[in-house]
């Protein structure tokens, strides 16, 4: 599993990567009540706002971690946003994407590096 400074995790899944948010991010957001995911087939560039998350407190965005295309979305978290608070790194993944440049994944943080980042 790889991590971004924006508190997303990425995990290789065949030719794709699966993307979600970290436990730390879910805890910071608090009770999540609404999620809007991008359409499958959307081309995204790193840093683009592609997901809207609303907690009881406030709205926030999730940014595309790398360049690529959305290939699958997890509608289960749209139906039940609280899944993200309960199992952020498991069942509650957000979307899968194909990377424009597969090698960029290696440039992201390891779990140890991410743990230091949030300390």
């Amino acid at each position: 599993m790889k991590f971004t400074e924006e508190h997303e995790w990425l995990e290789s899944d065949g030719d794709m990567v699966k993307v979600g948010i970290t436990e730390y991010a879910a805890e910071q957001l608090g009770d999540i009540v609404f999620i809007e995911l991008p359409d499958v087939g959307t081309s995204v560039t790193k840093g683009q706002e592609i997901v809207v998350i609303e907690s009881v407190k406030a709205a926030s965005d999730i940014l595309a971690p790398l360049d690529g295309e959305i290939t699958e979305i997890n509608n289960a978290i749209v139906d039940d946003p609280s899944m993200v608070n309960n199992d952020p790194t498991g069942e509650a993944w957000f979307f899968k994407m194909s990377l424009k440049n597969q090698g960029e994944l290696d440039g992201l943080m390891s779990e140890d590096e991410y743990k230091k980042h949030i300390e």
Partner: protein, 377 residues
């Protein structure tokens, strides 16, 4: 940037694991480890302890003049019945400006030899200055800084509080009474801002932490942060100053006509005579075109404060604005309130809120979203 002020419960909040945010110049807990949703639901079914010490506490008294004189002076500023407020009773009110807008909303109690007034944190310096400049010099207005203010709210609040200070069943909604605790005086009112039964307690700063620790040692009570305080008051349709109320919105537009007793209205014994009377009395008779309303967003997306409302999904005919909105933990759906301009809108037209350049349909409904449960009898 000025340093954030701390309440007497700052250390306790930290030890309870509160997440802190800046609010009206204070560092305040937005939630505790339980989180906003669970804190909200806990308060609705059991009881919650709130630190509201950031709010202003005013003592209005006179060494030379009677309570009747103070009440008459206050009635020149407030459109409510102050003279008719009995000893040890509390009442909601507001300070209008000359145009009928609201400088602040408040709770006022008659304490026999003085009036005790609780005002909003963000407005206390403004209110204090306004009162000082607009009231007889024979009246003393003190913004007291030596006392904290806490609220205990929810169905178990009477049982929990009575374990510490004694019998409370004779105290009804909006009654006020002093209680002694460890040799100090607590000023207790049966009121609050969650729409539920509960109490607000003014107590010396020095006593506050030990008192709250003893409250939290009881079964059935959890500390509740400002996050859940906001969702609790919104569910019951209570206004938040700075969002739902401000200097350009009148109490009539805000749906607060009920707080202006008949004795101060046209035809009443003490009709008018208060700041902003022209606009306010006229609006009582004529009904303003701007009106505070309740909305259910039809989808799952919360429509929050600042969301513009349109009668079309293209953003052409703007008809109003959401002033408070969020997720209702009790109803498990988003709720909003805000203002509609009835000159620009017909009730059979659809309503859309614009968020992130998208248009979400909403349905007009009635306040409160969740019924209140005050102990009136």
């Amino acid at each position: 940037m000025t340093e954030l002020k701390k309440t007497a419960l700052y250390d306790l909040h930290r030890s309870l694991g509160a997440k802190a945010i800046p609010f009206a110049g204070y560092e305040m807990p937005v939630n505790y480890p339980l989180g906003i949703m669970k804190e909200h639901l806990y308060c609705r079914k059991s009881a919650g302890l709130f630190d509201v010490s950031h709010m202003g506490q005013l003592v209005i008294s006179s060494n030379t003049q009677s309570m009747q004189f103070i009440a008459s002076e206050l009635e020149k500023l407030l459109p409510i019945d102050v003279l008719g407020l009995s000893e040890d009773r509390q009442r909601y009110g507001f300070l209008p400006n000359k145009e009928g807008g609201i400088i602040d909303d408040l709770m006022i109690s008659n304490r026999g030899d003085h009036y005790f007034v609780v005002i909003n944190a963000s407005r206390k310096e403004i209110d204090f200055k306004y009162l000082r400049e607009n009231i007889s010099k024979e009246i003393d207005v003190d913004l007291i800084k030596t006392r904290a203010l806490i609220a205990i709210q929810g169905p178990l609040s009477e049982k929990i509080l009575s374990n510490l200070i004694g019998e409370l069943s004779s105290l009804k909604y909006l009654d006020v009474k002093n209680f002694s605790y460890k040799g100090e005086m607590l000023w207790v009112s049966r009121s609050g801002y969650t729409g539920q039964d509960g109490f607000e307690i003014s107590l010396p700063n020095s006593l506050c932490e030990v008192f709250c620790k003893n409250i939290l040692n009881q079964d059935g009570i959890e500390p509740i942060g400002l996050g859940a305080r906001d969702t609790l008051r919104l569910e019951c349709g209570l206004c938040l100053y700075g969002q739902d109320l401000n200097e350009t919105i009148t109490p009539i537009e805000a749906g607060l006509k009920w707080a202006i007793q008949k004795v101060r209205r046209v035809g009443g014994e003490r009709e008018g005579g208060f700041v902003g009377q022209k606009k306010i009395l006229k609006q009582i008779e004529e009904h303003p075109h701007l009106k505070r309303e309740a909305f259910f967003p039809d989808g799952k997306a919360p429509l929050r404060s600042g969301t513009k409302l349109f009668s079309d999904d293209k953003g052409k005919n703007e008809i109003g604005m959401i002033t408070s909105g969020g997720y209702s933990p009790s109803l498990e759906r988003p709720i909003s309130m805000g203002y509609l301009n009835h000159n620009k809108f017909n009730v059979d037209e659809p309503i859309f809120g614009e968020v992130r350049n998208k248009f979400f349909s909403v349905t007009l409904t009635k306040l409160p979203f969740v019924p209140t449960s005050f102990k009136r009898n």
